[in-house]
Amino acid sequence: MGMKANMVEALNNALNIIMDRDERAVILGEDVGTEGGVFRVTTGLKQKYGEHRVIDTPLAESTIIGMSIGLALMGLHPFPEIQFAGFSYVSFNQLVSHAARYRSRSRSSFFLPMVVRMPSGGGVKALEIHSENPETYYAYSQGLIILEPSTPYDAKGLLISASRLNDPVIFLEPLKLYRLFREEIPEEPYEVPIGRANILRKGNEVTIVTYGPTVPDVLKVVDKKKVDAEVIDLRSIVPLDEKTILDSVKKTGRVMIVHQAPLSFGVGAEIAARISEKAIYSLEAPIVRIASPSIPYPFPGYEDYYIPDERRIEKGLDKLMSA
């Protein structure tokens, strides 16, 4: 059975499946219960599973994460929601000093099945701190799985896969794509593999690596320019599917990395570094990174000048192809 769903609906569907299947699953966060979350991803869940399993917490992210750690230690499977990725900074210590290393600290005597969901990135003209791209922060933490879907299908499948892991997962939900489009997805449970990038377009002339909010823009440019590009959607930032990237680069000899996160110290840096270590002899042109500038995410009035749009992606591609 299929259903038409945008990403919010796909995520809500996944959470219903998870909560149904596993009574250890618990959802907690600000406004996730009665209201169903400010983006409505948890709509209906409190009514269905009760306030013990869908908890409207006080307004304190550090303890939302810290409490989730305690729940996970006791064999529950918490799904904390952070209202916007930028507010996860308040819980940074819990994520980095505890979630990321509870397993290594105890040599796997304790481990933390938990999925920290948060809307990530901008593109919808939100207020300050509401459009953060936090991926490098958590990727650098070594010990957190970082996922970011770019379609309703992947969103549902990745969330279900994440719910099967005995690891802490940062599940980034691109704000911009929450309601951007609907697509047909199965109503039944299914999984999207973790640590495996998705080749969205097969191609031979150039490799474009991207993830999350910039995926649709990249596809539009590629389709418009009819360039023979291989488009790779990471889906997992940690673990990184290095092999898929390197194999593609070895084939095409050219690579462009596109993300909404700022250029400096962004995920693109690590990808470029790995290519420059392991596939440099295949490169026929300098690596191109298209990203937001190395400045704080601006207020919404300046957003359009900040995030990489189709024009900038296209120009990057032109530069790369003519190098």
Binding site: P58, G86, P300, G301
Partner: protein, 354 residues
Amino acid sequence: MIEKIFQTEIMYQQVLDENGNIDEKLYPHDLSDDKLLKMYYYMTLSRAFDNKLISLQRQGRAVTYAPAMGEEAVQVGAASALRDKDYFVPNYRQHVIYFMRGLPIEKYMLSWRGFEEGLEIPPEVHGFPVVVPVGSQIPHAVGVAYALKLRNDGQVVLTFVGDGATSEGDFYEGMNFAGVLKVPLITIIENNQYAISTPRSKQTAAKTLAQKAVAAGIRAIQVDGNDVIGVYKAVKDAIDTIGEGPMLIEAITYRMAFHTTSDNPALYRTKEEEKEWKRRDPIDRMRKFLEKKGLWDSEKEKELWEKHQEALNKAVETADKFVPDPKSMFNVFSFLPETLKEEMEEYFGDGNEG
């Protein structure tokens, strides 16, 4: 052996009741008619500004906006007690205080149209930019207050925090620092009963929010936050006795509108509750008082709103003329590092808008 080693209590205060009558014993007699009228002016300006911004937002000419409707008495009452030399540290809901302290409406308005230029606040305003991560302004306010303490000129800092934000670590930490460093800080908990959809009852088991001061060993009081005179008095009293240390004031009020223009209160509260609080509208109450005092009538009322409309329309006109300067985004450091300069030049040299 078992013995009592500590005891404390929290008082509740109201000066102006729902019918516009005052408690003579508590009434602050330093309040001139002029000052009372000014308070009313700003309370209504705040309401008018909200209406304007909501309408601009609906037209796509402003970004997500957080109205202060219903909370005018807290904000105007508190700020009316401040002297020019004092400072204020807001969160994101105290729009009118900027106006009271001299930031032009058309300037501040830019920030809610999505431009940082709206937060270019002249030093004489003695106020700071909007703070988004809830509670995180409290530590700043402690630092500002510490600086004032070093100046030793009797200045105070007034800061605001929501009922929900009192659950954040920064709030408690800041209160605790304020207490032990004995800085001249007055903190108002603008308890509007909700943090988005989350009611006060789910925020804490504490009977009052004022009692959070007990953890920091500082003074506290709870006031009727829809009573502009009572709020004024509480802040004034705190300033007059600031030598005794910081003060926490819980002001009981109600967010009459939505959390922001993105919010739908129908999901989490009843129309009856909203109506009940509409009855306690702080503006109505103050108007009744002014009328009883012979300071106000329907003619004046009409004129006032027209005046606000005019001022706001003019402000919108000016704000409409604002031209964003994307290069200004690169204003991150006191100097422009080479690599950032290169990024900027590549960006703009490439014919990008700007």
